[in-house]
Amino acid sequence: MPDESRSVLDIEKLGIDFGGLQALDDFNLHIQPGEIVGLIGPNGAGKTTVFNLLTSVYAPTRGGVKLLGMDLKGKKTHEVTQSGIARTFQNIRLFGGLTVLDNVMIALHNSMDYSMFEAVWRLPRYWKEEKEAKAKAMELLDVFDMCPHAYDQAGSLPYGAQRRLEIVRALATNPKVLLLDEPAAGMNPSETAELMENIRKIRDRFGVAVFLIEHDMSLVMGICERILVLNYGLIIAQGTPDEIKNNPTVIEAYLGQQRGE
């Protein structure tokens, strides 16, 4: 069982109701540093809701979240990000009209410190921090071989590149936990394989824990060390890929009751 005292993310009894509908209930998870955890389940099970709760887009009705022991209760979304949780979105949310580089530079906002006054009068700190940030941005883009596209308009990138950019941008916020919402959506098998490589590469290089939502089973089974299965807002199974693959409750949730059983 995961060692709770060294977890990077502690989710306890998390739950939310929308009006009369219980969208999520009794969600418990302790993610270890550097762990890759997957969250799967049929559409509408509440997976993105979990992400939205973790990033304070919604406020939970029950339960709480702790990041490295720090309670995230009441924190706004940008504070959660500053604390160390970054995310990508199911429907890509890039800053389409800005360049690829600027998308990453925006995520590096909090790694810089200069005030508006220093910006306007171009004091030394402006130059120093901008230079460092740009170097860091390029370094991150290089991980995904995106440097040649640094000055392209983000909205004009091909779909796969946009997804990669979103991940780079999330990484730029220097997170301890990276939430990926359907990162392989719309990708063909070779792109998916490349993505799997990249996720491992990120985990190894930056030491982030990865918590991902996916429908693509090859990816989930391929890189996740642990998988949670959600259905109708409740965890119906938890375990290693092999355990989940053969779990009858899981199979039923996805395929419906088997004939003759």
């Binding site: 800053f95 600027d102 925006i106 910006a119």
Partner: protein
């Protein structure tokens, strides 16, 4: 597939040529002023024409400050004229109440005008910016109207009769300096991490929050800065016209400025400047067609919105350095001079424009 270059705040050549760029820009600003003074003193521009440049000036400041909240931040404030009126009245009441050397009086008046407008910008922004899109537009419209009605009903502002006898402190010099200052401040602010944060809110507010940017903070402070400059423009206006009529600062005025920003291109400072220039002078050029002026104006607005909603310049922002860059590259190409990369940076050749 859109192959336009995105708005970039960091070009490859920036760090290599920075000091050079600043020197060039400063030199041009000073040269512009010298040229202007020359034209006026040698009577190439007659007094009337020189005076026309003052409304151009404060309209540029109005348009550029609205563009900050509208084009860069992506909101739609419809009460900008309200901030102008607050600045105008504050500055005017100050200069009328004190008796100092003109330079000091005007300077302080403008400062107080701007600050007062900024205070109201902050107070209005706090509740208003919690709303999105249309609702923000409506509420700022409401606030603008309330300001107008309140000024109309206060005694010390002269009520419906307005304020008269304001000293005509506004000169071409004051105007030029303040226009240059406004453009400078907003320009440098936008080309910084703060400017990027502002743009990110326009592009996708939810994504901006998840990048760690406090959207509430940036929306409020941008709104406040925008109001500040509108207040300064108001101060210039008051000391140019010498009388203030609260009726001039209603929704119509806000719309006039909005037209300049939209026509110029939302998100383009040069667009706001050009449009403010043109639309301020247009009524003068159409002197003979006085009656048709407003019809042409509104028709123009509708036609531009239908056929080119992005306005004259779209989101393009003029950069002196970039234009010079291109000029030099072209010259180099013609003279076949090889470009020698400066040590260390390794950025290489400038990227070809789409």
């Amino acid at each position: 597939m859109n192959d336009k270059k995105g708005v970039s705040l960091d070009k490859k050549g920036l760090l290599k040529q920075t000091w050079f760029r600043y020197v060039i820009n400063t030199a041009l600003i000073v040269a512009g002023y010298a040229l202007l003074m020359l034209l006026v003193n040698e009577h190439v521009l007659n007094k009337y024409q020189a005076n026309m440049l003052i409304p151009v000036g404060y309209n540029i400041i109005m348009a550029v400050s609205l563009n900050l909240a509208c084009g860069y931040l992506g909101q739609l404030p419809l009460g900008h004229a309200g901030f102008m009126s607050i600045g105008a009245y504050t500055a005017a009441l100050f200069t009328m109440a004190v008796d100092l050397p003109p330079f000091l009086e005007m300077g302080l008046g403008l400062l107080f005008g701007g600050l007062m407008a900024a205070v109201f910008g902050f107070l209005i922004g706090l509740p208003a910016l919690r709303l999105k899109g249309d609702y923000l537009a409506i509420i700022t419209l409401g606030f603008g109207e309330i300001i107008r009605v309140i000024i109309l009903n206060l005694d010390f502002t002269g009520g419906a009769f307005g304020l008269k006898g304001i000293e005509k402190h506004t000169t071409l010099t004051w105007t030029y300096v303040l226009v240059a200052l406004t453009i400078f401040v907003i320009h440098t602010l936008m080309k910084s991490r703060h400017g990027r944060a502002i743009l990110s809110i326009r592009e996708d507010e939810i994504a901006a929050e998840s990048c760690g940017i406090s959207t509430t903070y940036y929306k409020t402070i941008t709104f406040t800065i925008s109001a500040f400059f509108a207040g300064v423009a108001g101060g210039l206006y008051a000391h140019y016209l010498s009388i203030l009529d609260p009726g001039n600062f209603g929704f119509m005025k806000s719309v006039e400025i909005l037209v300049m920003v939209v026509l110029g291109g939302l998100g383009s400072m040069i667009g706001s400047v050009v449009a403010a220039f043109g639309l301020t002078l247009l009524p003068e050029l159409l002197r003979g067609f006085e009656q048709y002026r407003m019809v042409i104006y509104s028709l123009l607005l509708v036609v531009v919105m239908i056929f080119k909603p992005s306005g004259l310049f779209g989101k393009y922002d003029f950069s002196m350095g970039d234009s010079l860059d291109r000029l030099f590259t072209w010259i180099r190409g013609g003279l076949k001079i090889r470009k020698i990369p400066a040590g260390g940076d390794g950025d290489g050749e400038a990227k070809k424009d789409a």
